[in-house]
C-alpha cells in the first residue's frame, strides 16, 4: 500500500477543537485539487496528453481524472495542438461557454505561437482570441512538462481570490478580447 498524501492545511488559527481560516484559501485548495479539464486536442500534443492521462503519468493524481467534454462543466481549457483560423471561432465559443472560474492552458509550440505553421491559414497563438494562463513550450512537450504546467495552474487557482471575475484587472483583460 502506498502512503496516502493529504494536502497541507492552509494558514489559520488553530485551537482545541476548532480551526479558522479564510474561505478564499479553503475553496482555492478545493478547486486546485479537483480541476476538471476540457481537452481541446487537435494534433500530436493531444497524443502526449493521452499519455499524461494514462496510468504511467496519471493526471488523476492531481484530481484531474474527470475529463469534461462539456464546456459548461469544465474548469480548465487545455488547448493542445495547431489551431487553424477556421477553428478559431470554435475554440472561442468553447471558451465563452465555460462558466467562471475558468482557466486556460496552452500546450505546445502551435497553440502558444503557431509553431512551425507560420502560414496564412493558422492562428499564430491562441492568445490572439482567448486569454491564456499558462503556456507549455515544446513540440510536443513531454508529459512531465504537461504535469508541470498543470501544477502551475493549480498554484494560480490556490493563490487567486475567490471571485476573480469581479476584479477590475480580470475584467479589463476579458474586455481586451471583446468578451462581456
Amino acid at each position: 500500500m502506498s502512503e496516502i498524501q493529504l494536502v497541507d492545511a492552509p494558514a489559520g488559527i488553530e485551537g482545541a477543537g476548532f480551526f479558522a481560516t479564510t474561505a478564499d484559501k479553503v475553496l482555492g485548495i478545493a478547486r486546485a485539487n479537483s480541476l476538471w479539464p476540457l481537452p481541446f486536442a487537435t494534433s500530436c500534443c493531444g497524443i502526449e496528453f493521452m499519455a499524461t492521462a494514462a496510468s504511467h503519468y496519471d493526471i488523476a493524481r492531481f484530481g484531474a481524472e474527470r475529463m469534461s467534454f462539456s464546456p459548461r462543466q469544465a474548469d480548465l481549457l487545455m488547448v493542445m495542438g495547431t489551431i487553424s483560423k477556421k477553428m478559431g471561432p470554435v475554440l472561442r465559443q468553447v471558451y465563452l461557454q465555460m462558466a467562471e472560474p475558468r482557466w486556460v492552458l496552452s500546450m505546445g509550440a502551435c497553440a502558444c505561437s503557431g509553431g512551425i505553421f507560420d502560414t496564412y491559414s493558422v492562428l499564430q497563438g491562441i492568445d490572439e482570441i482567448i486569454p491564456v494562463d499558462v503556456y507549455i513550450p515544446g513540440c510536443p512537450p513531454r508529459p512531465e512538462a504537461v504535469l508541470d504546467g498543470f501544477m502551475l495552474i493549480q498554484e494560480l487557482v490556490k493563490s487567486e481570490t475567490l471571485r476573480r471575475r469581479n476584479e477590475p484587472k480580470y475584467q479589463k483583460l476579458l474586455a481586451s478580447y471583446g468578451i462581456q
Binding site: 483560423k85 505561437s113 507560420d118 502560414t119 496564412y120 491559414s121 493558422v122 490572439e128
Partner: protein, 167 residues
C-alpha cells in the same frame, strides 16, 4: 501499360479537335496537352463519353499560377480511364483579369468541391457552378492564398521579427 497507347489517344483527340489541342507533351508517359476554355467542356465530354476511351473518372481538378506568363492562371484536369488504364492531363490557361471557365459539374458531380477549392485558392471563377463559395479557408478571407503575390506567412507572427535576432 494501358490498352490504348498515347499516340492512338492523341490521334483520336486531334481528329476531333484538330488545332484546338496544343503544347502536347508526355512527361513520365502521361499524355499532357493544353486547350482553351471555349471547348474544354467539349473535350472533357468527348473523353468521358466516347465508347472506346471512357475517361469516366475525374482524378483531380486544380489550379496553378505562373506570374510571368501572358495567361498566368492555369486550371488542370486529370482524367483516368478505368477501363483502359490510361490517364491524361489537360491544362487551360486564363488571363489574369478574366479568370472565367465553364464548370465541369455537369459531367462529374465530384468536380463540385474541387472547383470550390480551386476558386478558394486561385480565384478561378467557374461559370454556372451550383454553389461557388470558399470551402477550406475562412469565409471572410479576401485573398486567394495560392497566388504568388500573396505572402505565405502570417503578418501577425511576432517571434520571428528581426530584432529578436539582433538584425
Amino acid at each position: 501499360m494501358g490498352k490504348i497507347s498515347n499516340e492512338d489517344l492523341l490521334a483520336k483527340i486531334s481528329a476531333k479537335f484538330a488545332d484546338k489541342v496544343t503544347s502536347v507533351s508526355e512527361p513520365f508517359g502521361l499524355l499532357t496537352f493544353e486547350t482553351d476554355r471555349e471547348q474544354i467542356i467539349e473535350v472533357l465530354d468527348f473523353l468521358k463519353n466516347d465508347a472506346a476511351l471512357q475517361f469516366v473518372y475525374l482524378t483531380d481538378l486544380t489550379g496553378i499560377h505562373y506570374p510571368g506568363q501572358a495567361k498566368p492562371i492555369g486550371v488542370i484536369y486529370h482524367l483516368h480511364s478505368l477501363v483502359n488504364n490510361v490517364r491524361v492531363r489537360i491544362k487551360v490557361f486564363l488571363a489574369d483579369d478574366d479568370v472565367h471557365i465553364p464548370t465541369a459539374t455537369g459531367l462529374w458531380h465530384g468536380a463540385n468541391w474541387m472547383e470550390r477549392e480551386t476558386y478558394d485558392f486561385f480565384g478561378v471563377i467557374f461559370d454556372r457552378h451550383p454553389d461557388l463559395r470558399r470551402i477550406l479557408n475562412v469565409d471572410d478571407m479576401t485573398a486567394f492564398p495560392m497566388r504568388k503575390e500573396f505572402p505565405l506567412e502570417d503578418p501577425n507572427r511576432v517571434d520571428k521579427k528581426d530584432y529578436f535576432f539582433g538584425r
